[in-house]
């Protein structure tokens, strides 16, 4: 009986410790809440005095505060540079999740019950159209420099802004491919059997834009080419970098529907890769940014959009070898929008059929 008592003492102590631990966990939640609601409380207050003043000058004076949650598609370095620039300019702290378009959308879906995101930056226009259609986006018509944007890449109501774009092309290893293919159909030839990668549209927004864009022009007949691709041993290989990487190392020779800026980045570094755009045309995939309606810090979110469209970021965009979203900012060391042959695409069809196409594509290439 006595021994028991001793162990009981020990157990009592541990029980108490655990109890405290549990209590500690319990209080953490509410404490967080008060902290964030305090931040929220501060934001509207700051908003009051500046309302309805001329938009041009006060942007910088406006007392922005709190934090902004941004879900951003790559390129990683650009996203981080934009984050740093924005934080320095506004004093608002950014919490960023970096992922592919597919991952960002899934994250939003998973968090539907308790949304935390304020701004999303995607790599696929139809996805942004989808967000708008579901009523998730907030309009911001008076965004600075919005008038200079290429109109087809943005929403006319100001629900999303195509601040940059990439074009899809045929990327190849220059050591392994002295005579690169010229057309999409060339990739069905015997000489490329088993040597071609294609990014997974379920992960890569721009690859999705290419596949849906191609199909929107060709109709169901478009699947024939993709089926032939599959027959020729084309492999579906993750998102863009994962599809391009084997081309760099020489494990594969060609990437079909690869995003161009990554290839140009690798090329600039000295890797043996290059890119062509088929003369029959390709898809340019705009990268839209949108404010999410449930944002708790709308002013900071608007300032983020303004910053994306500013000269500063547009130059960063060009430096990453992406196509700048503004007409007045030239592309750098790469073909500009006018030099890339484009095929006719139907963005509305692409938006409506994105999920179905993704599913069918995954099944085909599995």
């Amino acid at each position: 009986m006595k021994i028991r008592g001793l162990k009981q003492g020990a157990l009592l102590l541990l029980t108490a410790m655990v109890g405290f631990g549990a209590a500690g966990c319990g209080t953490a939640g509410p404490a967080d809440k008060t902290a964030s609601s305090a931040a929220n409380g501060a934001a509207p207050k700051a908003e009051q005095p500046v309302k309805e003043v001329k938009a041009e000058n006060i942007k910088e004076d406006k007392k922005l505060s709190g934090k902004l949650v941004v879900y951003s598609a790559g390129p990683n370095d650009l996203a981080v540079a934009i984050q740093k620039g924005y934080e320095a300019k506004t004093g608002v702290k950014i919490e960023m999740f970096q992922g592919t378009t597919g991952k960002i959308l899934s994250r939003m879906e998973a968090e539907k019950a308790n949304p935390v995101v304020d701004v999303v930056v995607l790599a696929s226009l139809p996805s942004a159209q989808g967000l708008k259609r579901s009523g998730l986006t907030m309009e911001y018509k008076e965004a600075k420099n919005a008038d200079k944007l290429i109109p087809e890449w943005s929403d006319k109501d100001g629900s999303f802004f195509g601040y940059s774009a990439s074009a899809l092309g045929i990327g190849f290893n220059t050591k392994l491919v002295p005579n690169p293919p010229k057309e999409w159909a060339d990739l069905t030839k015997e000489e490329w059997k088993g040597k071609v990668n294609i990014p997974d549209p379920a992960l890569s927004g721009s690859a999705l834009d290419f596949v849906t864009g191609y199909l929107s022009g060709k109709g169901d007949a478009g699947w024939e080419l993709l089926e032939q691709y599959k027959k020729n041993g084309m492999a579906m290989a993750g998102a863009n970098q994962e599809a391009l990487d084997p081309i760099i190392t020489g494990a594969k020779s060609i990437v079909a529907a690869g995003v161009d800026y990554m290839t140009y980045q690798a090329k600039a570094k000295g890797e043996p890769v290059d890119m062509i755009y088929p003369a029959s045309g390709t898809v340019i995939s705009p990268r839209p940014a949108a404010i999410i309606k449930t944002t708790k810090n709308a002013d900071a979110a608007k300032a983020y959009i303004d910053y994306l469209l500013s000269d500063e970021v547009q130059k960063m965009v060009a430096d990453t070898y992406l196509l700048p979203g503004r007409k007045d900012v030239p592309a750098k060391d790469r073909p500009g929008v006018d030099q890339i042959p484009q095929m006719k695409v139907d963005w509305a069809w692409m938006d409506a059929n994105g999920d179905a196409v993704t599913k069918k594509f995954s099944q085909l290439f599995k």
Binding site: A10, K33, L105, I248
Partner: protein
């Protein structure tokens, strides 16, 4: 009077333990099952099976099972001869081999697989070293290659189990057979095999469960060769567009069911086929003297095994982290340390990820040691029903695949009715790690505690020690080694944890594992590999250091 209060304390503790375990482990798993059988119109108990039949997911299930069987076969082929060599021949005195053999097991599978991919792919390191190998390297990218990679990762586990069993089968039994004229094969077939069987069955089933629960290799190598299994599909349905929680929970409950079934089978086997192997006579193992040729052969086997399971993956990992231009390949002048400098720059994304990993693991390890010790003391000798229940629940995370637990935790903590907003916070990650690795502490402390005789505590009481005093001066010092072992294990594994980190980290947060994975997916493989080297190296040094420290203590102390 005292007795009643003490009993109620014990009861209170037990209730608390069961309550915590219910929230941490049981409710999340029940939620998965409920969600998978819930349809818009009501309950449908066959819904998960219907989901499977209705799509190509049946194939995914068969893939998982097939892979599991293949890996069991693969690890058996690798581990059985090794266990025999290192328990019965004079090679057994090389105890350092046991430490080296732990390396493959401690290498995170997603990193090891990536190493193999870089080594074997077209124009990979293998073909750069031996151009003629181009003829067959493509053959590696098949189910065979996947089985090989996973077997090289898991075989040390089976080896340890088999070797311990072989050591316990005292030489006397074999000598008896020999005296009665049994040949070597006869002895092996009629004496060693049956005695080994229960250990082998346990090891093999564990390997099977570990294989079908594995995520890292399917996510890297499996995807490359188009071989999809349950874990990779669950991850896909939860994290890539368009997401489908229904499919994910169906698959998760299927995986859960399979693992629990196997666990049950294993319990039955180990209860029925366990023989008392340790008698009063000292166990004496006869060491086989090898001829020079036999010895050379044995060493060749050991060397080949180490080459395949340690040297090749680490060669790839380290090389990839040092290559300046990956398109140029292995060439003098193409090596650089720039990725390490970039990686370890203060304030960089990678450094933040590394620090996040360390602080998360530190917190998780500490909490799980406290909780685990509490549960282990509650379990005591698992005699009453509530003790057994605590035992069962606290060890459940060892049997249930990590990805299934994560799905359950998301369902619970992200539910609209959940008042505590833990999802998307730092706390959620810590919670998941704690649930994942709780069994380690529970097992270590339980084993430690079971060896303590009641007389120790009686002595303390006789000399008038209070309950707290006895806890502090007798119980705690004696179970401390178990607690420390649990802490170290939890810490090391948390630092490398991938699947939970991928699925539940709050938006702005990265750990070293997700950083590496992100680099493989969308960034620079070289940076990812540099991070792999740093994080594996760091935890290994930490473990070795702690081990040394403990050794000194035990030698110096009583």
């Amino acid at each position: 009077m005292q007795t009643t209060t003490l009993i109620s304390v014990k009861k209170l503790g037990m209730t608390l333990a069961l309550l915590i375990l219910a929230v941490l482990v049981v409710i999340p798993l029940v939620l998965i099952l409920l969600t998978s059988v819930q349809t818009e119109t009501g309950w449908d108990w066959l819904a998960p099976l219907r989901t499977l039949m209705g799509s190509s997911l049946g194939e995914v299930f068969l893939n998982s099972i097939g892979l599991g069987l293949a890996v069991v076969a693969g690890t058996t082929v690798l581990a059985l001869p090794l266990a025999w060599i290192l328990s019965r021949t004079d090679l057994k005195r090389h105890t350092w081999l046991d430490v080296v053999l732990l390396i493959p097991f401690m290498t995170p599978p997603y990193i090891g697989s990536m190493g193999w991919i870089l080594f074997m792919q077209t124009n990979g390191y293998m073909e750069q070293l031996i151009p003629a190998s181009a003829a067959w390297t493509q053959g590696f990218f098949s189910l065979f290659g996947m089985t090989a990679i996973m077997s090289f990762h898991l075989f040390p586990f089976l080896y340890l189990i088999l070797r311990n069993a072989l050591v316990q089968i005292a030489g006397g039994k074999e000598e008896a057979a020999s005296v009665h004229g049994g040949t070597f094969l006869y002895t092996f077939r009629r004496i060693v095999m049956p005695l080994l069987l229960s250990s082998y069955a346990m090891g093999a089933l564990l390997i099977f469960v570990k294989t079908i629960a594995e995520f890292g290799t399917p996510a890297t190598f499996g995807r490359k060769i188009g071989f999809y299994v349950l874990t990779s599909e669950i991850h896909k349905y939860i994290s890539s567009w368009p997401i489908d929680f229904g499919q994910a929970t169906s698959l998760a409950s299927l995986l859960l069911g399979t693992c629990l079934l196997i666990w049950y089978v294993q319990t039955v086997i180990s209860q029925r086929y366990t023989y008392a192997m340790i008698g009063g006579k000292g166990a004496r193992v006869t060491v086989l003297r090898l001829t020079i040729w036999q010895r050379a052969l044995a060493w060749l086997y050991v060397a080949a095994l180490l080459g395949l399971s340690v040297v090749i993956p680490y060669f790839s990992i380290i090389t990839a982290s040092l290559l300046k231009l990956r398109g140029v390949g292995l060439a003098w002048g193409n090596f650089t340390f720039q990725y390490y400098i970039e990686l370890l720059a203060w304030g960089s994304r990678s450094m933040e990820a590394l620090l996040n990993s360390l602080s998360l693991s530190l917190t998780a390890a500490t909490i799980s040691v406290v909780l685990g010790t509490f549960f282990a003391l509650m379990i005591h000798r698992s005699r009453t029903r509530s003790e057994r229940l605590t035992d069962l629940f606290s060890l459940l995370p060892n049997t249930v695949p990590g990805i299934v637990i994560v799905v359950g935790l998301i369902l619970l903590w992200n539910a609209p009715w959940m008042p505590v907003r833990l999802y998307n916070t730092y706390g959620m990650v810590v919670l998941t790690y704690v649930v994942f690795f709780l069994p380690y502490t529970v097992q270590y402390v339980k084993a430690n505690f079971a060896q303590l005789d009641a007389s120790l505590f009686q002595a303390g009481k006789v000399f008038g020690g209070s309950g707290f005093y006895i806890f502090r001066r007798i119980l705690l010092p004696l179970i401390l080694p178990g607690m420390l072992a649990g802490w170290m294990m939890t810490f090391t594994i948390s630092v490398r944890e991938l699947v939970a980190s991928l699925m539940i980290l709050p938006p702005s947060m990265e750990t070293s594992a997700t950083y590496i994975f992100a680099q493989f997916e969308q960034g620079k493989v070289s940076l990812g590999m540099a991070m792999a080297v740093v994080s594996v190296g760091l935890t290994t040094i930490l473990l070795l250091g702690l081990n040394k420290l403990l050794e000194k203590r035990t030698i110096g102390g009583p």
